[in-house]
Every structure is written in C-alpha cells, then in structure tokens.
C-alpha cells in the first residue's frame, strides 16, 4: 500500500517533464495566436522589416532569421573543424591519461556562463578583429559567431569523440593490417564509420548556436538588419526577445505577444534540428 503511494509520487515527478513540454507549447501557441490576430502570418513570414518599437510597426521575421542563420553559420565554421579535429586527436591519437585529463577541462569551456563569453566577444575579439579589418563596426555578427563557435567546440568534440570510440576495434585493426597509418585509419575508416554520429553532433551544435542568446545580445548589437554579411551588426531572434524584455512593454500588447511568436519560430527551428540529430544518432547506434 505504501509502496503504491510512493510509486505514484515518483510518477508525478516524472510527469513534471511532460507538463513542462506541454506548457511551453501551450504558452507559445496561445500568445502567438493572439499575435496573429493583429499581424497576418504571410506578412510575418515574408516581411523584410522588423520594426515593432516604431510608430509604424512592421513585423517581418526574416531579418531576425537572417541574423540567427548568419551567426550560426559563422559559429559552425569554427566549431565543426576544431571540434572534429580535437575529437579525432583525443579518440585516435592521445594517450588515455592525457584524454582523461583534457576532457573535463575542455568541458569547462562549455560551462562558462554565456554572459562572460559576451564580454569576451565585445572587449577582446571585436578589437582584435578591428585591428585586422579597420572598417568593422563595434557591434558585428562575426565576433559573436566566432565566440559562439568556440563555446560549442567542447559540445561537438565530446559527442564526436563518443561516436568515434563506438567504432569497433577490429575495423581499426583491419586497417592497420593493410599497412595504414593512424591518420589514414582515422580519416578513411573511423570517420566514415562514425559519420552519422558526427553529423548528429554537428546538428546538435547547430541547435545550440541557434538558441544562443547573451553573446549575440551583447556583441552583435540589437538592431534588426536584413543581411547575411557577418561584418554587419544585426539582431537575432533571441536578441530581440532580450531587447523587448529589457524595456517594459505592457502585458497583452502586440509587442509583448511578438516575443512569443519569435520564440515559436526559434522553438520550431531548434526542434527540427533536434529531431534530425536524434534520428541520426539512433540510426548510427544500430550500425554495429
């Protein structure tokens, strides 16, 4: 009898996760549908002007999506090569003592508060970039993207390394027996063998970069700007939500509802990436 009560209590705790998901979806949908009573969905999805705080308010999400995609692409250009390289090194070359020491330290890079990374982007990376490119504005997506890339390196490298270590030993030994070196084995046997796992790591990295907020809010400026040029300042979806939250838009106004519509777009973007990532991971698990 008491056992049954305990079980129900534990089940209730497990259901909190389900309710959180439901609540997120419900809140985003309810507030967004109120928003779409004032703004047409077509204008929202195709408009290239995002000026919710002007007298002539325009709600076209494309500038924010462009900003989000640009910073994400810059971040991936950093995180994918560096993360994969580190993963190959740790999984195939590093002695196990070194690997066990370096991995936790590398994971600390992912634990640094994002607001600190924002400070880093604004006060160190941007001045360094301006020294190389004197015309670069003080706020730009390049610096924010580079720092986000750095931030997700440990994430990508750790997942990629797990994928590579899951490639069975005998495949490597077969390659060595044919006279291949470690690098050849890594590039021609291990990486292709772990490919879907690597792809999953990159895609989960993308969804991280898409949702990153503070670095872009601090270093990329908060002006919506419909451009894919990383040297320009621009706002992302997340930066817009922060910007509105810092002011005091009254509860129930169209501006207030607009952050939920923006959040819904963000949620759908990350959800798509997560689903692709998880299905790739599952396929890769069945490989051996």
């Amino acid at each position: 009898m008491r056992d049954r009560a305990v079980e129900l209590l534990l089940l209730a705790a497990g259901l909190v996760a389900v309710f959180t998901t439901l609540a997120i979806v419900a809140i985003l949908l309810i507030e967004s549908s109120a928003f779409f009573e004032h703004v047409s969905i077509v204008e929202f999805l195709t408009g290239t002007m995002w000026t919710p705080l002007f007298a002539d308010a325009r709600y076209g999400i494309l500038p924010l999506v462009a900003g989000t995609l640009t910073t994400t692409i810059v971040a991936l250009l950093v995180a994918v090569p560096l993360g994969t390289l580190i993963a190959i090194y740790l999984s195939e070359f590093a002695p196990s003592r070194l690997r066990e020491t370096v991995k936790p330290i590398l994971e600390l890079l992912g634990a640094v508060p994002t607001v600190v990374y924002g400070y880093f982007a604004l006060t160190m990376v941007t001045p360094a970039l301006q020294w190389l490119m004197p015309d670069l504005p003080g706020f730009n997506m390049l610096s924010a993207g580079l720092v986000i890339g750095l931030m997700i390196v440990p994430y990508v490298s750790s997942l990629s390394e797990d994928a590579m270590r899951a490639v069975p030993r005998y495949m490597r030994e077969g390659s060595y027996a044919m006279g291949a070196t470690r690098l050849q084995t890594a590039l021609h046997v291990v990486v292709p063998g772990a490919f879907s796992g690597l792809a999953a790591a990159f895609i989960l990295g993308i969804s991280r970069a898409v949702g990153e907020t503070m670095v872009v809010a601090i270093a990329a400026g908060m002006q919506p700007n419909f451009t894919f040029d990383p040297t320009q300042p621009a706002a992302t979806i997340t930066a817009y939500i922060v910007q509105v939250s810092l002011g005091d838009l009254p509860h129930g106004s169209v501006g207030y509802q607009s952050i939920f519509a923006a959040g819904l777009v963000l949620m759908i973007m990350t959800l798509v990436f997560n689903v692709i990532g998880f299905s790739l991971t599952r396929r890769f698990r069945e490989a051996y």
Binding site: D3, V6, E7, L10, A12, A13, G14, V16, A17, V18, T20, T21, A23, I24, I27, E31, L82, L85, I88, Y89, L90, F93, A94, V102, P104, L106, L109, A111, V112, P113, T114, V115, V116, Y119, L122, T123, L150, V153, A180, T181, R182, L183, A186, S207, G211, E212, T213, M214, A217, I218, T238, I241, V242, S245, F260, G263, L266, M267, T270, N274
Partner: protein
C-alpha cells in the same frame, strides 16, 4: 615484377618505403596539429579568466561586495546581485533536486517498458535541447502572469529549476544505473519492498552521482542570464529582499520569495552594455567572480565523482 605499371609501384621497394615515410610524417604532423588546436582551446579558457581578473582587479575590494549598484562606476557594487543569486539558487535547488531525483528513480526502478514511459523519456531528452530563452518565455507567460508570482525570486528560482531538471534527471539515472543488480536482488531476496530497496540500497550507492548532477545543474543555473532577463529581472536594485531570518518566532520568514531581485549575470550584462569604460571594469570583476564560482562548482563535481568512483569497489 609485374608488367602492369600500377601494380609495379606497389611492388617497388623504394617507392613503398618513400610512401610509408611520407605517410608517417603526415601522421606526426597531425599529432602536432591536434595537440596545438587543443592547447589553443585550453589557452583561450586561461586567457579569458586572466583577462577578466586583470580588467576587474581594481574593483576587488570589500566595498564591491557590500555596495549596491550605482550610477558612479567606482561606487557600484554587487550586494543586491549576489544576495539575489544566492536566494534564487536556494529555490532552484529545493525544487529541482527532489523532483529530478524522484523522476529518475521512477524511470530507472519503477517504470514499466511501455509507450507511456517512452513519452516521459523523450520529453526529458527534448527539454535538454530547448534553448534557455524559451524557458524564460514559459516563465513569463506561466509563472509571472498565470500564477501571478510577478517578477519575483520565486518565479526566477522555479524557471531555473525547470531548466536544470533534465541535467539532474540524466545524472541521477546514470548513477542509479551503475548500481549492480546483484545488490537489488540480494535485498529483494531478504524480503525488502521495491521502495525499501531503492531507499536503503540504491540511493546510498548513487549519492556521489546525484551530488555531481546537482552541482553541475546549479553551476549551469548560476550563469543563466537570458531566462531571468525575460521574466523581467530589474538591473538597478538598491535594496535587499526581506530577510529570511526574523527575531520573533518562528524565526524564519518567506517574504523574500515575492521580492523583486537582480542576479550576478544580470548585473554583469547591465554593466557590459554601458558605453562608459569605467563600468567595463565592474563587468569584468563581476564576470571573474561568476566564472570563478562556475569553475569551482565544476571542480567540486569532478572531485566528488573521482572520490566516489575510488571508494566504491563492486
């Protein structure tokens, strides 16, 4: 030797030897490149920390910890911020740890293998991938306006609790899973109920893993800025929340739960976004403290994991 020139290259000892040595050189080059890239990433972490400490060094005075925010950079301090962060962390820990551990116990020890359990598991994995700012929107709509908690410490603590729930659940599940089944079977063999097995045997052995998960979760929560900005934390607060201790019976008060607040990352964000360079030193000092706390918590978590792993020999 073969007549076919393509095969001949494989058989010519000189060509084979040259090819092999070239490939071995490439191998060595990659080792160096890999090591360098890794060292660069680690060096960046070090540079980041040193830079913060150097930029903020002139602010590390007692006053910085005991002053409220101010319009004058050199008089501004982080009193309201660190008190706010401490109180929020208490709420977060009190909410996230019991719920997270209980959910993990359910999933590992009780849950039948069916579609319903699968839904809970998918939800936990999905929640871990939700961007933190979306939790802020959830909190704004649900806690701040539906539950009418306002822009309070309680709302912030609950938000961060939901945010770190997946971390606590995943860590606890791993800890529980590493307890060998023989332990459970021995207890069942003596007539213990499922809950007795869990409470008296599985949980004590999992303490290390659970503690690690809890600390890692809190270290994530302490630096989260976006969700608490979204619920509307104020960045300029020149008063403290109501004291949790009172002079009369029952000596403890919960009035602080409803008070407006600021927190360390919010305070830092506020200082970073000001154009006046004097405030950048304040931001650096606050950042150094925040980063120091995060690194310390992660260090403690690694140490606990290491110690428990050494202590238990199955």
């Amino acid at each position: 030797m073969s007549d076919n020139p393509a095969i001949a290259t494989f058989l010519d000892p000189k060509l084979v030897r040259d090819g092999l040595s070239r490939r071995k050189v490439l191998d060595q080059v990659f080792v160096i490149v890999g090591l360098l890239v890794m060292l660069v990433c680690l060096a960046i972490l070090a540079v980041l920390f040193i830079d913060l400490v150097r930029d903020g060094s002139e602010r590390f005075t007692w006053d910085f910890f005991t002053n409220f925010a101010s319009r004058r950079a050199e008089r501004a301090g982080i009193l309201a911020a660190w008190v706010g962060t401490t109180l929020i962390m208490i709420v977060t820990a009190v909410c996230a740890v019991p719920v997270g551990v209980a959910a993990a116990i359910y999933l590992e020890e009780y849950a039948p293998k069916n579609w319903f359990t699968a839904i809970i598991e998918i939800n936990v994995t999905n929640l871990a991938g939700v961007p933190s700012i979306v939790y802020g929107l959830l909190a704004l709509g649900l806690f701040v306006y539906q539950f009418d908690l306002g822009q309070s410490i309680a709302a912030a603590g609950l938000t961060l609790a939901l945010l770190i729930l997946p971390i606590v659940i995943v860590a606890t599940r791993e800890a529980i899973r590493s307890v060998p089944n023989a332990i459970r079977e021995a207890a069942y063999g003596l007539g213990a109920t499922r809950w007795e097995v869990t409470k008296d045997h599985v949980l004590p052995y999992s303490t290390g893993g659970i503690l690690t998960g809890m600390i890692l979760g809190l270290s994530r929560a302490i630096g989260e800025t976006a969700p608490i900005i979204t619920i509307g934390a104020l960045s300029f607060i020149a008063f403290l929340p109501e004291s949790p201790f009172t002079s009369e019976f029952p000596f403890i008060s919960f009035g602080w739960l409803n008070d407006p607040f600021t927190a360390m990352p919010i305070q830092m964000f506020n200082w970073v976004s000001r154009p006046d360079p004097a405030f950048q030193s304040n931001a650096a000092a606050a950042g150094a403290i925040l980063l120091g706390m995060t690194l310390l918590m992660n260090g403690v978590a690694i140490w606990i994991r290491y110690r428990y792993r050494k202590k238990i020999n199955w």
